[in-house]
């Protein structure tokens, strides 16, 4: 399974590096990734008979991080969706995307997304799952913002990232609480013996926030319609077929273990049924075909949440069928919209006329897919909906009549908007309300057959599986067993006899048809009903409030005065570690003041230079004097026998002086004259205090080395465990490092061995900080330059005014 994920990474690299001359055909290469997954699924399906397959690698075992994958039938079901729909979407993309400069980036990121999704549905470790989860959010952000010149696409991408990212953070908190409560982060172990208690309830609520944001459920749904700014293949893949199902996947996994007690059911069922109603209601009045599908997706995901979230086998059975059906018909319909958009350059149903006659193949594919969405026989959507009604009619479902009512009403909406989709996209009868030009089917080029192939194939899958749903019975039964339900006899069939579910279906279809016929009146009613604050406006207000608060905090904290910043740093440095240091009392041992006759000589030079640096009036002289202090320090290191430190100190000092001199070119030659004496007292006191503090600290620190330290000091930090046998506890770190450097790390230079081996984790963090700092410097200067060209005062000038103020 790791290999499956890595294949995507390699393919993405190949796409990014080699795809330069291929244009749109780069998607043929990208399709290797999902195609590999399909092959893996076929192979794994034959090997899964003897139970789930697991894979495990060490990652950071000190932190309990392992790479654990687990493939059972439910994971396989989703992995197969990711692979098969992915393949079709990639093939479709060859025709969809114009061969411009950004296409390699889009193809590479889409491939990475598919890899993250494949990892998400197969990972067994909660933290690994979270990693993949966030990767899908980030790649989704990049893909929604593909058209980075459009500000609406950028803000839609940001909204999706903020909402799903915030949900992801909540989920991480939930995972940590859950993992600590259960004592393991392995999902399969947690689910097989679920912990309980208040902490677990809190954890589950947090996890649910993650799942509901990802699956765009009420009240977090607003990002999904906005995300329709993405190119249509991306909407088809991420925002209908796979990524938004990640939340459903998580709920499906957790529900059997956690749904019965606590707040789980009420949250999932409440949000799900609200989404069913809201999605359907909003979809009814959309004129943009893509937005219609987006709201429809919110409703369908709500249905899936209801079905999986209750944690009952009958409903989960229906959930599995609806999951497959929805992925097929919704991806197909999105691709149809993409084709229409690509050929006619509009998705507005008020402008599309007579496409059915012109493009019969596309029309028939859409008819099949939309009929499956509406739940008409003999399509898979009908089978799923029948099973859902059937399950919700069981009295052991909590509040089953309320849920049933919501789902039935949502299904009525679904029938109506499915009809609206077909009528709007292909019908001849058009509301000529807008004054925009109407696109006649006969005026536009016919799409290539291979362009239509992908949606047609998916629509046919819905038809074939609808006629012979029995072929899915085994897979569904195995998936339910994988979710942890007891063995359940699954007999999927098109005809269940005359029962209540069939009656409900007939009722739904009739009512939906009626709603469609009365669409004018429905639209008028919807327009008349005043709506409360929409989720989008709430989101906008939240973001604006956050920015305002941040601005106010910044204006207080960031005064823009360098001396003030420096004073804050210095005072903190002196007070926070300084007070406990003084309270700790006397030093551990007597101090040897002088080791070598060189030391007092160097010391005098350093002290003299430091004092002179504080007194001179010219900046350049001050910099050179400070450099002298630094070189003196290096000389002290040499006297003490630390050539490594000395070398580093000299280099840092040299480059520091160079950097100073470069900056000095932009500043006046001398310091501004001091205005008043009292203003100099504060900095002087601070300077003396920090000097005393460092002096005392150095004494205290050097008196500690060489004495035995308690074991707690030693084991903190990731010292790699080594097999040389000696216990760490009874020696100080310095001795420990000295003793181990050569035998363990094969290095005589202990300083270097500490940096790159013993404490390499620290170094990794430090160089990352260095990188961020360098990027920050570059970015700040760039901003500065931009402001300069816009006539805003420069930083250097404000430094001068600060000097004048002192």
């Amino acid at each position: 399974m790791l290999l499956t994920v890595l294949v995507y990474v390699l393919v993405a690299l190949a796409v990014a590096l080699l795809g330069r001359s291929l244009g749109s055909r780069v998607f043929w290469i990208a399709a290797i990734g999902p195609l590999w997954t399909v092959g893996y699924c076929v192979w794994a399906a034959s090997a899964l008979g003897s139970g789930p397959r697991t894979e495990s690698w060490n990652w950071v075992s000190a932190l309990g991080l392992t790479i654990e994958f687990r493939l059972d039938w439910f994971s396989l079901l989703l992995l197969a969706l990711v692979g098969s729909i992915g393949t079709l979407v990639f093939v479709y993309s060859v025709h969809y995307f114009p061969p411009d400069r950004d296409i390699r980036r889009t193809a590479a990121v889409l491939t990475l997304f598919a890899g993250a999704m494949a990892g998400l549905v197969t990972s067994d470790n909660l933290l690994l799952l979270f990693t993949f989860w966030e990767l899908t959010s980030i790649t989704s952000f990049l893909l929604i913002g593909s058209n980075d010149e459009s500000s609406s696409a950028r803000s839609a991408a940001t909204q999706a990232l903020l909402v799903t990212g915030a949900g992801g953070l909540a989920m991480l908190g939930g995972f940590v609480l859950l993992g600590q409560a259960a004592g393991t982060y392995s999902m399969s172990s947690i689910l097989s013996s679920p912990p309980s208690g208040v902490v677990v309830d809190v954890a589950l609520v947090l996890v649910l926030i993650g799942a509901l944001t990802k699956s765009a459920q009420v009240p977090f749904h607003a990002w999904l319609p906005a995300a329709m700014a993405a190119p249509t293949p991306i909407s088809a893949y991420l925002h209908s077929a796979t990524m938004v199902k990640a939340g459903v996947y998580l709920v499906a996994r957790f529900a059997p273990a956690f749904a019965v007690d606590g707040p789980w059911r009420w949250i999932v069922l409440g949000a799900g049924s609200a989404s069913v109603l809201l999605g359907g209601y909003r979809a009814l009045r959309q004129n943009d075909l893509k937005l219609l599908l987006a709201y429809s997706t919110i409703g369908q995901l709500g249905l899936l949440m209801v079905l999986f979230g209750a944690g009952l086998p009958e409903l989960a059975l229906a959930g599995c069928v609806v999951l497959v059906a929805h992925a097929a018909f919704k991806a197909s319909l999105f691709m149809v919209v993409g084709i229409i958009d690509h050929q006619t350059h509009t998705r507005d149903i008020r402008r599309l006329v007579g496409l059915a006659r012109r493009w019969p193949a596309l029309f028939w594919a859409s008819l099949l897919a939309a009929a499956s969405m509406a739940g008409l026989p003999p399509l898979l959507g009908f089978v799923g909906k029948e099973e859902a009604f059937d399950g919700l009619l069981q009295p052991d479902v909590p509040a089953h009549l309320v849920l049933l009512a919501a789902v039935v009403l949502g299904s009525v909406f679904t029938v109506a908007y499915s009809a609206r989709f077909l009528w709007g996209a292909f019908g001849d009868d058009v509301d000529r309300t807008g004054d925009a030009a109407v696109v006649e089917g006969s005026d536009v080029p016919r799409p290539l057959p291979s362009f239509v192939a992908a949606p047609a194939l998916l629509a046919l899958v819905g038809l074939v599986l609808g006629i012979i749903p029995g072929v899915m019975s085994g897979l569904v039964a195995d998936s339910l067993a994988a979710l942890g339900f007891d063995e359940l006899a699954v007999h999927l069939s098109l005809w269940h006899g005359l029962n209540t579910a069939l009656g409900l279906s007939i009722l739904v279809i009739a009512a939906g048809a009626g709603l469609f016929v009365m669409r004018r009146r429905v639209e008028r009613v919807q327009a008349a009903v005043s709506r409360g604050p929409s989720a989008t406006s709430v989101y906008d207000a939240l973001v604006k409030g956050l920015v305002d608060v941040a601005g106010r905090v910044t204006s207080v904290v960031q005064s823009g005065s360098l001396p003030v910043y420096l004073m804050v740093l210095i005072v903190t440095l002196v007070l926070v570690p300084g007070i406990p240091l003084v309270l700790a009392g006397s030093l551990g041992r007597s101090v040897e003041w002088i080791d070598s006759p060189m030391q007092p000589v160097i010391g005098v030079i350093m002290v003299a230079s430091a004092c002179a640096a504080a007194l001179v009036r010219r900046r350049f002289a001050a910099v050179l004097l400070l450099g002298t202090v630094g070189y003196g320090m290096a000389a002290l290191f040499i006297v003490q026998g630390a050539p490594d430190l000395a070398l580093t100190q000299i280099m840092v000092e040299t480059l520091g002086v160079v950097a100073f001199v470069l900056v000095l070119r932009h500043l006046p030659e001398g310091f501004a004259p001091t205005i008043s004496r009292p203003r100099r007292v504060g900095p002087a006191v601070a300077g003396v205090a920090v000097g005393l503090f460092v002096f005392w600290f150095a004494l205290a620190a050097s008196s500690v080395t060489g004495t035995p330290t308690p074991s707690a000091d030693v084991v903190d930090g990731p010292v790699p465990t080594r097999d040389s046998g000696e216990r760490l506890a009874d020696r100080s770190l310095a001795e420990e490092f000295l003793a181990r450097s050569l035998p363990d790390a094969h290095g005589r230079n202990v300083v270097n061995v500490i940096i790159v081996d013993f404490r390499a984790f620290d170094t990794l963090g430090e160089i990352t900080v260095l990188l961020i700092a360098a990027l920050g410097v570059l970015a700040l200067i760039r901003i500065d330059r931009r402001e300069e060209s816009e006539g805003v005062p420069l930083a250097a000038e404000s430094i001068d005014t600060e000097d004048a103020r002192r």
Binding site: V756, A760, L764, A774, V777, E797
Partner: protein, 161 residues
């Protein structure tokens, strides 16, 4: 930016080019020392495991070579002789260090675990090294990159008012 059109030069750019014209001897000396310093920095990088040196110092020495070059010939000359952008060095350094950190996972080791390799080189003969070297190489590149970024930013003629 406008290096080659004297009319549009800012006063500081003119000063920069005058400076480089005045210090011909220094320029020649630095030009010959530049590569020597780079070799020294690479030596420090390699020697670091057993003798004074290491990626950090090596990177600083290389950066100081660049600083010398810039001080005598100006930022444009530095950019001509060091073609790699600081951004690339920064990113590349972190990638090298991260890959070195992850490498031991490949055969079941731990994150950041190092191996000691012995092998025979053609011509040179038997040699040995710790895989920590590659981590150090990442440090070297990153340090050099960050210093170059700073030099570039502060050394730009149009950086100030």
């Amino acid at each position: 930016m406008n290096e080659h059109s004297p009319i549009e030069q800012t006063p500081r750019e003119r000063a920069d080019s005058e400076m480089s014209r005045r210090s011909m001897i220094l320029d020649v000396v630095v030009r010959s020392e530049f590569h020597v310093l780079l070799v020294v920095s690479v030596y420090l990088l390699f020697a670091g495991h057993n003798q004074p040196g290491g990626g950090f110092v090596g990177g600083l020495v290389a950066a100081s070579a660049c600083a010398l070059r810039m001080a005598t010939a100006g930022p444009a000359e530095l950019r001509r002789s060091v073609r790699v952008r600081p951004m690339v060095l920064l990113g590349g350094g972190l990638v090298v260090a991260s890959v070195a950190a992850l490498a031991a996972l490949w055969d079941g080791g731990q994150l950041l675990q190092t191996r000691y390799l012995t092998f025979d080189l053609p011509v040179i003969g038997p040699a040995s090294m710790s895989t920590a070297f590659f981590f150090d190489l990442g440090v070297y590149l990153l340090v050099l990159g960050s210093m170059l970024a700073v030099l570039e930013v502060f050394g730009e003629p149009e950086a100030g008012p």
